[in-house]
Amino acid sequence: MSQLPHLETDRLILSAPGAADQPAMLSFLGSDRAEFYGGPMEPVAAWHKFSAYVGQWVLRGYGFYAIRLKDSGETIGMAGPHHPEGFAEPEMSWLLTDAAYEGKGYAREACEAVLRDLFETRGWDSVVSYIDTANAASRALALRLGARLDETGAPCPLPGCESFRHFAPGRSPEARA
């Protein structure tokens, strides 16, 4: 089986999730922070959801990266293209498992690394993010990452969400015009 990828930034290591990330992710999915991820949920439901995230990597060849702090190795979140059956395209999503990790630029640092991987290494032209209109933090980060509201793709499959699209350098509609 193939080697799963591994990305590094100044402060973070991103790799396919596994057993080491399970406690942090089950804790996240059991908390109110998981409201945009179908939570909060019981540990058994969280285990099944987490193992599905892990399995998407193997079956699709891409998925949520686990975000770990370089210094301590602790898992602080996930970021990457999630692609449920029935979605017309993969969706770039991100989360931090605990409020203690917010406000430090970790999510942005992780997302920038993932987007570079998708655009530069994998050659994707663009990727969409479906963001709940109530999720002001994610919306703000999407805009900081350079994404813009987008109606060119398939209709947003999630109720209450808007589509934001991230473009690879030189691949936005203006750049291609």
Binding site: Q3, L4, V44, S51, Y53, W57, V58, E85
Partner: protein
């Protein structure tokens, strides 16, 4: 680094890692009422998540469920291997064969090979099978495999009969 999933070969079968292309045959199995001992019937989106979880289980636990294919045609006909969800009391030898492939000894062949591989590759030498008390077919197979009834166990509000398999020594697969 992803977990390397061994390929197990028997006279008539190849047990291999779950793949994306297995979604359609799995949907066929889970569309039927007879899948209720495996948590079915399930809609396509639920089968998709089940397939993801099957793949994810390997990565998290280091062992898991193989998909059973016919050596001659490559067709997927069922699953066999080791399940250890967090709500499970201990790792389980699980198995299931799609309708139309029963009565040929294929489930027995696959389960026996999976049990041997569990011992050889993962050091899991004394597995249980968790069986719905109403699942006579599965119970009969457990007995044919040399397992015996050990105890009852309640898992997520469902009663299961725990069948203990004999210890597998020598690690031959």
């Amino acid at each position: 680094m992803s977990v390397a999933i061994p390929v197990i070969e028997t006279d008539r079968l190849i047990l291999r890692a779950p793949r994306l292309e297995d979604l359609d045959p799995l949907c066929g199995f889970y569309a039927e009422q007879r899948s209720h001992f495996n948590g079915g019937p399930l809609a396509r989106g639920d089968v998709w998540r089940l397939l993801l979880r099957t793949a994810g289980h390997w990565q998290i636990r280091g062992y898991g469920i193989w998909h059973i294919t016919l050596r001659e045609t490559g067709e997927m006909i069922g699953h066999a291997g080791i399940l250890n969800h967090i709500e499970w009391p201990e790792p389980e030898l699980g198995y299931g064969i799609f309708a139309g492939f029963e009565g040929k000894g294929l489930a027995h062949e696959a389960a026996e090979a999976a049990r041997a591989a569990a011992a050889q590759y993962f050091g899991l030498t004394r597995l249980v099978s968790l069986i719905d008390p109403a699942n006579d077919r599965s119970k009969a197979l457990a007995l044919r495999l040399g397992a015996h009834f050990e105890r009852e166990e309640e898992i997520m509000g469902h009663l299961a009969h725990v069948y203990r398999h004999p210890e597998i020594t020598g690690g031959v697969a």
